[in-house]
Amino acid sequence: MIAYLIRRGAAGAAVMLALVVLAFLASHYVGDPVNMMVDSEYVTDAEYDVLREAGGYNRPMHEQFWDFFSGAIRGDFGDSVWQNRPATEIVAERLPATLLLGGVCIVVTFMVAIPAAVISAYWSRSWVATVITTVTTGFASVASFWVALALIFVFAIELKWLPTSGYGQWQHMVLPVIALAIAPIGRFTQILEASVTNELREPYVSTARAKGLRETRVIYRHVLRNALIVGVTLLGGEVIFLLNGAVLIETIFAWPGIGNVALESAQQRDLPVLMASVVLVGLLVVVVNLAVDVAYAAIDPRVRLT
């Protein structure tokens, strides 16, 4: 187990290393970073040179890379061009909002997908199953930004039940959570349903029933426990989906998270903040995937981490 963790940790570190290198290349080789950060209309050549020097962009590339790299390892991406304070601080203070949104989305996904999958698998020939399959196929296929705008139109403009956007009260969370969770709910329900259907055919189900266990106990204690292993595996992928989706959803709903700050910094050409948010999101993905692998072993005793 420990050897496994060390190996996976090393692999994660390699991914982060590659990400930092790519982030550097994208920002320094694709074009001139100073040109990207300033509006050439309002900057004279003399000012341009001052900015190049202030940012250290006139030094040899390997020196710049080393600075960026050694800074990135310490979590230091320099100061924001706009806010004159550390980029890492700006991104870190947005982290809780993204984690809150993502966490609630995952909880909601499980709360909806598990009962839906069980009902659909258990009464697979009934009309309820047909409805669930149809709806979840739709859920898995729609674009989240379209759902977001449709939700705003219905619940904020027409019904006036909820605010269009914003942050601070529970009402603000309802629409972004629905918009972001709809696709994962669709995918989760479909895969869980298939998994539950498979498990229901296993001999241990007959054994459990033969022992005289109540049906709910058979389903929740035995079937679901095995079926959910696949759910945990999917979780890693869904977290990546949620972080990607957060850029759009957070922007639409003005949710002050990492996705929002990433887009904002790209638009304001605030390179240090953009780099910090890219690397932090990468780190989140690596950590979550590692956690999922460990959880996988904990849930399924057949899996040995060696």
């Binding site: 001139d32 050439s40 139109f153 002050p256």
Partner: protein, 413 residues
């Protein structure tokens, strides 16, 4: 050297009660002109403008001495964000404290904010001009997505939605197309063929149906352009005359010649549609257009190359001149050291003179330069796109044609 004397308004106070006077004005100027702070964006040329610091003449009078006469320095002064800072507060708490708790002399005082979400202001009772204080308080909320910004007005969560675009404005019962122009144009590179030939540049100008473009793409929220927008310049846009344009191209011997045109989506989303219309229009007069779309960073890099290495046609939308900085914008667009892929030594001599003139003389020289430039056609100006704002029904704003929106101008009906 020229001395600017400022007489300060009497009876103005900061929101924390400190008086606005010569001492406060000087302290505020010193912050703006601080060489350390000046290394940040755009302030280097500003600081080098002055021969010395601000000098206090008496309680309510200060002098500023600039190295060269520059009629636009007041505009620059404002754009760089000169604001009065309360000297006593700064002395006690440091300059940094103001970034968390701004204190000014305006009609509304800061009360609270939450980062990335909202800023709340309330009416300042000590303001010197109470008749422009139309509201008890003002709250700014941040909504990055234009369609959502528009919907906040529809849902009654906001009363003014900034810059939502013509398309979103249609979903609201009330909106206003104000200033803050974005001027769309094509730079015609006069340092390389075929656009080094004036006839080709004129032909390209004649090939574009500006009115049709404005109607079709911007839905009445833009105007056909003869020169960059919001300028006190009297010029008619080139007429739409594709036959004359084709004749000019043929006369110059460039029929069937390939020209490269690049564009990026740098300021307005309509750039793609504009590129397609331009291509069709130029092919109709006998040029063959090779159209290239560039990513933002490449677009900036290509736009910064030496003129002769840039493509013949470079699409550009700019907000130049929105803040009254006509001379700066002219020099940038048409100067040999500017960014406009146009260099004309005859006009080059006029810039220095232009920045020393005032009043009618200045207006006359600007008009004269503009006419010469218009005839030489270094650019095809096409559309001046206005900013469209969403409004609650009870608002009747009276917005100026520049990019500034003051709360004084956002009035109830």
């Amino acid at each position: 050297m020229i001395v600017w004397r400022f007489t300060l308004r009497e009876g103005v106070t900061f929101h924390n009660g400190e008086p606005w006077n010569a001492e406060a004005a000087k302290a505020s100027f010193d912050v703006l002109a601080d060489a350390e702070l000046a290394s940040s964006l755009g302030k280097v040329s500003f600081v080098s403008l002055f021969a010395s610091g601000m000098e206090i003449v008496d309680e309510m009078t200060v002098d500023l001495t600039t190295n060269v006469p520059d009629t636009e320095f007041l505009g620059l002064y404002m754009r760089l964000g000169y604001v009065g800072l309360p000297p006593q507060f700064v002395a006690e708490n440091g300059l940094e404290a103001l970034s968390e708790q701004p204190i000014g002399t305006g009609p509304y005082a800061f009360t609270s904010w939450s980062r990335g979400q909202r800023v709340v202001l309330e009416r300042y009772d000590g303001y010197w001009e109470p008749e422009v204080q139309h509201w008890a308080g003002v709250e700014f909320i941040t909504r990055p997505e234009a369609s959502v910004r528009a919907q906040t007005v529809r849902a009654g969560e906001a009363h003014f939605a900034f810059n939502i675009g013509a398309e979103q404005a249609k979903t609201l019962s009330k909106s206003i197309a104000a200033g803050g122009f974005q001027s769309s144009s094509i730079r015609l590179n006069n340092t390389i063929a075929p656009t080094s030939d004036q006839r080709v540049r004129e032909a390209i100008n004649l090939a574009l149906d500006r009115q049709a473009i404005v109607d079709a793409i911007f839905d009445g929220t833009a105007d056909p352009l003869s020169f960059f927008a919001y300028q006190p310049i009297d010029l008619e846009p080139y007429p739409y005359d594709p036959d004359a344009a084709a004749a000019l191209i043929e006369e110059a011997g460039f029929t069937g010649t390939e020209v490269e045109m690049v564009y990026g989506e740098n300021r307005i989303p309509e750039e793609v549609q504009l590129a397609e219309i331009y291509t069709a229009s130029l092919e109709a007069i006998g040029l063959r257009v090779q159209l290239t779309r560039l990513e933002p960073q490449q677009y900036n890099d290509v736009g910064g190359l030496p003129f002769e290495e840039q493509p013949a046609l470079f699409m550009e939308t700019t907000s130049s001149g929105n803040y009254g900085d006509v001379v700066g914008a002219l020099r940038d667009k048409y100067g040999c050291q500017g960014s406009g892929t146009y260099c004309n030594p005859e006009i080059e001599a006029d810039w220095a003179e232009l920045s020393t003139l005032t009043g009618e003389e200045r207006a006359a020289l600007i008009q004269e330069i503009a006419e010469r430039l218009h005839a030489d056609a270094p650019r095809a100006w096409v559309a001046g796109v206005r900013q469209v704002h969403g409004l609650a029904d009870f608002l009747e704003p009276d917005l100026p044609l520049n990019a500034y929106i003051l709360l004084d101008d956002v009035k109830p009906a």
